[in-house]
């Protein structure tokens, strides 16, 4: 079992409960989409899985480790085995694409190798291979601020692919891409995860993308799992229940979104 959560609760420092009683287990060969309205707790759940937040209570096991019980060193090692694709790719604008991709393995490299690689990229071929899977090989030596938002998002994906993690997480990985590219990118991500035998967990706004590209879909609502089913077993009623009132109850939704934003700026 790659990931298992038992009774996991997360409460923000300001006392707002973002996740309550999450029970979940994900095997290495699974691709899971997390859907739900904004503020439902998707990002918080991904942050728990990425060990950038610690659960308030409950048991969280990642690759047979509980991040809360690990020493700083062991936690670093665990983190280097988990790849998180960010919604807004965290790339320094002046960095070259090749360096940005190679940075994926900093957790595994020695400091000496990291320094040398800044002088001359130590694995150009490796970076090119991952970029070419995302049709970006020709951008290898360009600067990150010279490519479009969708391309930056794919560079962020290439970095995580280069990291070769044992768990792949993705927070809205295709939000800056047009529909065709989004479909294409998600299918590539899925096939790479299958090929490497690592679990892929992605949060998505677009329900149809989730249903189409992920065999298993988890619906989050107000910090709880509303459903956790095979994609082909999800009915319209499930989706209606998931997004019930979210359009009408504007104030609650805005409040939740604001809370989510403040969390993002504080924690990541």
């Amino acid at each position: 079992m790659s990931i298992s959560l038992t009774g996991v609760v997360y409460t923000h420092p300001n006392g707002m409960r973002a996740l309550s009683d999450i029970n979940l287990s994900i095997k290495a060969d699974e691709q899971v989409a997390i859907i739900g309205s904004s503020g439902a707790g998707k990002t918080t759940l991904l942050k728990l899985l990425a060990t950038s937040l610690l659960s308030s209570s409950g048991d969280l096991q990642l690759l047979q480790h509980n991040p809360a019980q690990l020493s700083a060193r062991a936690l670093r090692q665990l983190r280097s085995r988990i790849g998180l694709i960010h919604q807004s790719p965290p790339l320094p604008p002046r960095q070259r694409v090749v360096t940005a991709v190679l940075a994926g393995r900093l957790g595994q490299w020695s400091l000496a190798r990291a320094c040398l690689s800044l002088c001359y990229p130590s694995d150009i071929e490796g970076a090119r291979a991952e970029l070419s899977r995302l049709d970006l090989a020709e951008k290898l030596f360009e600067r990150c601020d010279q490519v479009s938002g969708g391309q930056q998002q794919r560079i962020g994906i290439a970095r995580v692919l280069y990291q070769k993690p044992d768990i792949m997480l993705a927070d809205e990985p295709v939000s800056a891409m047009d529909p065709v590219l989004a479909e294409h990118t998600l299918s590539i991500l899925g096939s790479i995860a299958r090929e490497r035998g690592v679990p892929l967990i992605a949060s998505l706004h677009a329900v149809e993308l989730a249903l189409k590209h992920f065999p298993r879909v988890i619906g989050l609502r107000a910090g709880e799992i509303l459903f956790d089913k095979r994609a082909d077993a999800i009915s319209q009623q499930d989706l209606d229940a998931l997004y019930l009132n979210t359009g009408l109850d504007d104030t609650a939704d805005q409040y939740a979104a604001a809370a989510n934003n403040s969390l993002r700026s504080r924690c990541l």
Partner: protein
């Protein structure tokens, strides 16, 4: 309908506080001028005009005799060497200190949003060391070192190294904190070490700012080494001191023109490097 909409004129609510703040600043300036006995009109009374006129008249033309230019060249090189060596030594101390002092690379901040207690306890003493290093003016250090290591540029190099490591360390740490922290945090979050996260996440964004500040400091170090020359640390400063004592105005002007060239040079280098790093 909101009540305010019925009012005849819209009024900027920030206007009154701003006006009061400006007034307050001007009021604070006044005692400053009084304390420094700032009375510019003295410059223009007849007697002073004549004295200054005579002093300045001796300044032209600049001294261009071969013998003097040779000495000037040597002194310029000595000044440049003093500034450069001092700054290089300062960097050796400033870079590690700034890396410890900055909050950007806190791994514990990943979890809670703020650095852990141990991290903060380590950072404060380092910040204090940086304050101590830069709070004593380089001229004081120079006076001290001239007594310790004797007359000559060595004293200047040591004085610049100590004072400037404090300034550079403080500003470097602030520059790291001013750039977008996301790239470094993402790297820390995927298991990278702090130093690697700094090199790959902070440095690319901060390089331009760091270079231009360092070069500006180099320019300041050139000027500082001139001033320290007055207390016997060699270079252009010692030369200008001697020339002034001998009332050799032409020599003074030649030396001042050399300063101008040096600052222009520093400015050009800074601009070129900034362009390359932009």
């Amino acid at each position: 309908m909101p009540v305010t909409a019925t009012r005849a004129h819209w009024h900027d609510p920030a206007a009154t506080p701003r006006a009061l703040l400006t007034l307050a600043l001007l009021l604070v300036l006044w005692p400053g001028l009084q304390l420094t006995e700032f009375r510019p009109q003295i410059l223009f009374n007849a007697q002073n005009r004549e004295v200054m006129g005579r002093f300045l008249a001796g300044f032209w033309p600049p001294d261009t005799s071969a013998e003097f230019l040779l000495m000037l060249g040597r002194a310029t090189l000595e000044t440049l060497a003093m500034a450069t060596a001092g700054l290089a030594l300062a960097l050796l101390l400033a870079i590690p200190l700034s890396l410890i002092a900055t909050r950007t690379l806190s791994i514990s901040a990943l979890f809670s949003g703020r650095p852990s207690r141990t991290g903060r306890l380590l950072r404060y003493p380092v910040r204090f060391v940086l304050i101590v290093l830069r709070s004593i003016p380089e001229i004081v250090w120079a006076l001290l070192f001239v007594r310790a290591v004797g007359l000559g540029p060595t004293a200047g190099v040591l004085a610049i190294a100590i004072t400037y490591s404090g300034m550079l360390g403080k500003v470097y740490a602030e520059i790291y904190e001013s750039v977008d922290p996301q790239p470094a945090r993402a790297l820390l979050q995927s298991g990278s070490s702090r130093l690697a996260a700094f090199l790959y996440g902070v440095l690319p964004n901060a390089a331009q700012e760091l270079t231009s500040y360092t070069l500006y400091r180099w320019e300041c170090a050139v000027r500082a080494s001139v001033i320290m020359g007055f207390v016997g640390a060699g270079g252009l400063g010692q030369m200008i001191d001697l020339s002034m004592r001998m009332f050799a105005g032409g020599e003074v002007v030649s030396i001042l023109l050399t300063f101008l060239l040096l600052v222009l040079l520093a400015d050009q280098i800074s601009q070129q490097l900034r362009k390359r790093l932009a």
